[in-house]
């Protein structure tokens, strides 16, 4: 029978290491995200020129696109964390997966909400069953599924495994869901509405957007690392290193 020495190693070894390292990283990430997001958003809100077709409402893009980016990337981060946890039985990885789920759901919500309020002045309606919007909505449900499933288990080990399996099945599903909704959408509504309104974006709009995307990445990882820190402490509540910290 296999020895569980590795599990032992991970269970006791890495959380402390992570906690120490992340206390160095998180302040830097915080500074980075404030600088990038701050500059990008102020630039985008106040200095970038108006869009010819959409007017000023396009300024929502500086939040909407970064949030949507990370909502999607966050799912893969969560699934990969889950896969690493399943394969190498790394506690820390499962903790990252658990932390990524609500954060991803939050970003999905933000991208849905900002999309809806952007849609009103642009298309005249808050909600259309557009391919992207619909698949974002389903992504939101997938996130909720992972959160609810992991929390449903009293035993954390089981919740970790279940969540990871579900997240992995979901990764196969996301492109399929997107493709199917895209196809369905083109069947129902001939391309009257295109979310990607500007194929060639002006540099004056593109630069702040890029800053915002980078800033949102930094902010995402800042929030994720912080959330993991709390969970790590909770996980190791009876360990000596946690007692030393407090």
């Amino acid at each position: 029978m296999a020895s569980n020495r590795w599990e032992w190693f991970h269970r006791w070894g890495s959380p402390k290491w992570y906690y120490q390292k992340s206390s160095v990283w998180t302040p830097w990430l915080a500074v980075l995200s404030v600088v990038l997001l701050g500059t990008g958003l102020v630039w985008g809100l106040a200095f970038a020129p108006e869009d010819v077709k959409q007017g000023n409402s396009y300024r929502i893009i500086f939040l909407h696109v970064p949030a949507a980016f990370l909502a999607l990337a966050g799912y893969y981060i969560m699934a990969i964390a889950g896969a690493i946890g399943l394969i190498w039985r790394m506690k820390l990885s499962f903790i990252a997966m658990r932390a990524a789920a609500p954060l991803g759901a939050l970003l999905t919500f933000i991208s849905l909400f900002t999309g809806a309020v952007w849609g009103k002045p642009t298309w005249g309606t808050y909600w259309v069953w557009d391919a992207r919007i619909t698949s974002m909505l389903i992504l939101f449900f997938l996130y909720l599924g992972v959160i609810v499933l992991t929390d449903a288990f009293v035993r954390k080990d089981s919740g970790d495994k279940a969540g990871a399996i579900l997240a992995l099945v979901g990764t196969v599903n996301i492109p399929i869901i997107y493709k199917s909704v895209d196809w369905w959408n083109s069947l129902h509504q001939p391309a009257t509405i295109k979310l990607t309104s500007a194929p060639s974006m002006d540099a004056s709009m593109w630069y702040p957007l890029l800053l915002c995307i980078l800033g949102m990445y930094a902010f995402y990882f800042f929030l994720l690392l912080r959330s993991i820190r709390t969970r790590v402490v909770e996980q190791d509540k009876s360990k000596a290193w946690v007692k030393e910290i407090l």
Partner: protein, 197 residues
């Protein structure tokens, strides 16, 4: 090679809560061992860990021969009320048996005439006997039994005890959990689980 089962410093966890103090145990061919301990000490979990059904443990479970057939039979035993006695036995023995060997197993536990009966038509004790019948049919080197004596009458207890002895004499290792020291079966070893903390 003689079969040997060795538990090295084995302790099971419910998340981070240790269920019992680490256990060391070596069992050789033909030995019967009893696992005892208070409720919630993790008797079932220990057996399941040895059987490979539970992985939340520290320490080692070692077999001298990797090819040893190890089988865990839980308290609930896997008997489905929708299947007849025969069908249940066929399922539990992985459909490896002929009808005649199943019949003879049923005969030995005193369930002749109940072949086509459904388990909910049997009494609790008879259901346990049905489970016992699987022990007559199965092929294994290490047998893990979770509370085999529960809900059995005196005859039943004696029958199971005799069969466990018989299995051990054939060169198997038997590890079972129980609540009370039964006079009918004297095991070679006893593991007392102590609740940790």
């Amino acid at each position: 090679m003689a079969i040997k089962l060795q538990l090295n410093n084995l302790s099971c966890f419910y998340d981070d809560i240790q269920l019992f103090k680490p256990v060391d145990l070596t069992l050789r061919k033909g030995e019967i061992c009893r696992v005892m301990g208070p409720n919630g000490a993790g008797k079932t979990t220990l057996l399941r860990s040895v059987g490979g059904l539970f992985r939340g443990y520290n320490g080692k479970v070692m077999l001298s021969d990797e090819a040893s057939r190890i089988h865990y039979l839980g308290h609930r035993a896997g008997i489905r009320d929708e299947l007849t006695c025969i069908e249940n036995l066929q399922f539990l023995t992985q459909y490896s048996l002929t009808r005649t060997s199943i019949d003879s197993a049923l005969e030995r536990v005193g369930l002749i005439g109940y072949e086509q009966a459904f388990p909910d038509e049997l009494s609790a004790g008879q259901r346990r006997r049905l489970l016992l019948a699987t022990l007559f049919c199965m092929q294994f080197d290490i047998l893990l039994l979770d509370e085999p004596f529960t809900a059995l009458d005196v005859d039943g207890v004696a029958l199971i005890a005799a069969q466990l002895k018989n299995i051990a004499e054939q060169g198997c290792i038997v590890l079972y959990s129980t609540h009370h020291a039964d006079a009918v079966l004297t095991p070679n070893k006893t593991v007392m689980l102590e609740v940790s903390q």
